[in-house]
């Protein structure tokens, strides 16, 4: 066993001794355990030494060390074959923004419109700074008479829109070169002028197709609920009612299921409170009072043996006097 360098992979906090051999074939389990524990302590010591040799920062809990990247190649966690999304190259705007150091800012909900003097939304219906809202454009010194400034503005807007469309296609082209096109565009790539005439469009895989089919199916106003289904398409998961109630009337009044349900609930309730049916103390008192009355009538002959004392145990259905109840029956 060489005492020399173990291979220490700090990224995985691992130490590996490639030259270890057992001096003699181990006889018993305890020998194996003993030998391996000894070796393991040496390896752990190597890891600890390496850890302490790293530059550390102070922390309230103790020195903190940043581990380097792992050097051992571990097998992939997820399968290959185009399922992992590839990183997309930055778009033209992203490159420019990075260069100039422009930060992304949160969009405001409303913006103040100078034209009408009200607060309006930024895009869409009734938006801020809409071109159609401008009633008067003042003429500048550079303007020639006879040119229509409104038409000019429209032309400029159109050229801006076209330029942006061109940029968008260029970005998609770059993404496709890197192999990182989003799936719905990849599918439509045969039609768009991205791929160029030379390369054949790749066969799209099943999961890409499934993705896109799902997106397309739910892209209607009601989320695809009322579209006509093609033959062979599976029906919707939910049938009409989400919760089934018993019918209001079955035959001439209650149905059997309803009767069963009420009876079972009633029985459960009754059995839960069955210990309260017999008020033991009251029954005992009544019994004793009756006994005393009889004794008095007979002139005090019998002894006290007939009297019962109230027992504090709970009786479930035992009853000393038939159907005695605690509901204040007068005797």
């Amino acid at each position: 066993m060489e005492e020399a360098q173990y291979e220490v992979d700090l990224g995985n906090l691992m130490a590996f001794d490639q030259h270890h051999q057992f001096a003699s074939p181990p006889v018993s389990r305890e020998e194996i355990v003993k030998e391996t524990t000894e070796q393991a302590t040496k390896l752990v010591q190597a890891v600890a030494d390496a850890l302490f040799s790293l530059p550390s920062t102070e922390d309230p809990d103790g020195p903190l060390v940043k581990l380097p990247e792992p050097t051992t190649k571990l097998p992939r966690e997820k399968p290959m074959k185009g399922k992992l999304p590839k990183p997309r190259p930055p778009t033209q705007w992203e490159v420019f923004a990075q260069q100039k150091g422009i930060q992304k800012r949160k969009k405001e909900k409303m913006a103040y419109d100078e034209q009408t003097g009200t607060w309006k939304r930024l895009h869409g219906y009734d938006r801020v700074n809409d071109d159609n809202d401008i009633p008067i454009i003042e003429a500048k010194a550079t303007d020639e008479p006879g040119t229509d400034p409104f038409a000019e503005r429209r032309k400029e807007k159109k050229s801006r829109v076209d330029k942006q469309e061109g940029n968008r296609l260029k970005n998609l082209k770059n993404a496709q070169k890197a192999g990182a096109l989003p799936s719905h565009i990849q599918l439509a790539a045969t039609a768009l002028p991205i791929t160029g005439t030379q390369s054949q469009p790749k066969r799209v895989s099943k999961d890409v197709l499934q993705n896109v089919a799902g997106m397309a199916a739910t892209a209607t106003a009601s989320g695809g609920k009322f579209d006509k289904k093609l033959p062979g398409e599976k029906p919707l998961k939910h049938e009409k009612k989400y919760r089934k109630y018993l019918p209001a009337v079955e035959g001439s009044g209650m149905g059997t299921i309803e009767k069963q349900q009420t009876e079972s609930v009633l029985n459960r309730l009754m059995s839960k409170h069955s210990h309260q049916i017999l008020n033991v103390e009251k029954a005992v008192n009544m019994h004793n009072a009756k006994k005393e009355k009889n004794q008095r009538r007979q002139g005090g002959q019998s002894s006290n043996s007939g009297k019962f004392k109230a027992n504090k145990k709970s009786f479930k259905k035992t009853s000393k006097k038939g159907p005695s109840s605690s509901k204040g029956k007068s005797k």
């Binding site: 109630y245 018993l246 019918p247 209001a248 009337v249 001439s252 009044g253 209650m254 309803e258 349900q261 009420t262 009876e263 609930v265 009633l266 309730l269 009754m270 409170h273 309260q276 049916i277 008020n279 009251k282 605690s326 509901k327 204040g328």
Partner: protein, 188 residues
């Protein structure tokens, strides 16, 4: 209109049991409904319409199915309402049903009747008679001295403690009374 499902039935029966105890059997199973064109008396059942629970005879239920669901306002006797969070409360309209089957009763002196009918809780010096064996939080039906049912509520003290209480203490927490027919006409 629909029948109650199991959880709702449990809630309703539990609340009713607080007031009527074992007489619940009479209410649910054995009461005869002589109303209706059929000669054989039917039974009573519970139906729910818009979170209100009604105690209706079977023949009436059958005839009520002729009314459109959103036009049906009420049927039979309303006994209570389910709140938005699923709790069940008894309302004053079930007073007659409760009074006929009540286990624990309290009789009011004439002087404090009006106070109770305004919605205040019941104090000891307003109580004329009280049944034995009341425990705390039992359901109690309130009567006037002439045995007219006035309302119902929760017992704040047991009968034993009631005797030792000072005259200004609350005996019954008010839940519902017949004055609500005038005060809360719209809510009922």
């Amino acid at each position: 209109m629909r029948p109650l499902d199991e959880n709702e039935t449990v809630a309703v029966f539990n609340k009713l049991h607080k007031f009527v105890g074992n007489n619940l059997k009479n209410i649910v199973l054995e009461s005869q409904a002589h109303e209706g064109p059929e000669t054989n008396p039917g039974r009573y059942c519970f139906r729910m319409q818009k979170n209100r629970v009604y105690y209706v005879s079977e023949s009436l239920v059958k005839r009520a199915t002729n009314v459109k669901r959103d036009k049906l306002v009420s049927l039979g006797t309303q006994i209570g309402k389910f709140t938005k969070s699923g709790k069940f409360h008894l309302t004053v309209q079930c007073l007659n049903l409760l009074a006929a089957n009540a286990k624990h009763k309290v009789w009011l002196k004439p002087t404090s009747e009006t106070k109770f009918l305004y919605g205040h809780s019941l104090k000891k010096d307003g109580v004329g008679r009280i049944t034995e064996g009341i425990q705390v939080n039992n359901g109690v039906v309130v009567f006037s001295m002439s045995d007219v049912p006035l309302g119902f509520g929760d017992a704040a003290k047991s009968t034993v403690d009631y005797r030792k209480m000072d005259p200004n203490g609350i005996v019954v927490h008010h839940h519902a009374d017949i004055g609500e027919y005038l005060r809360m006409e719209d809510d009922l």
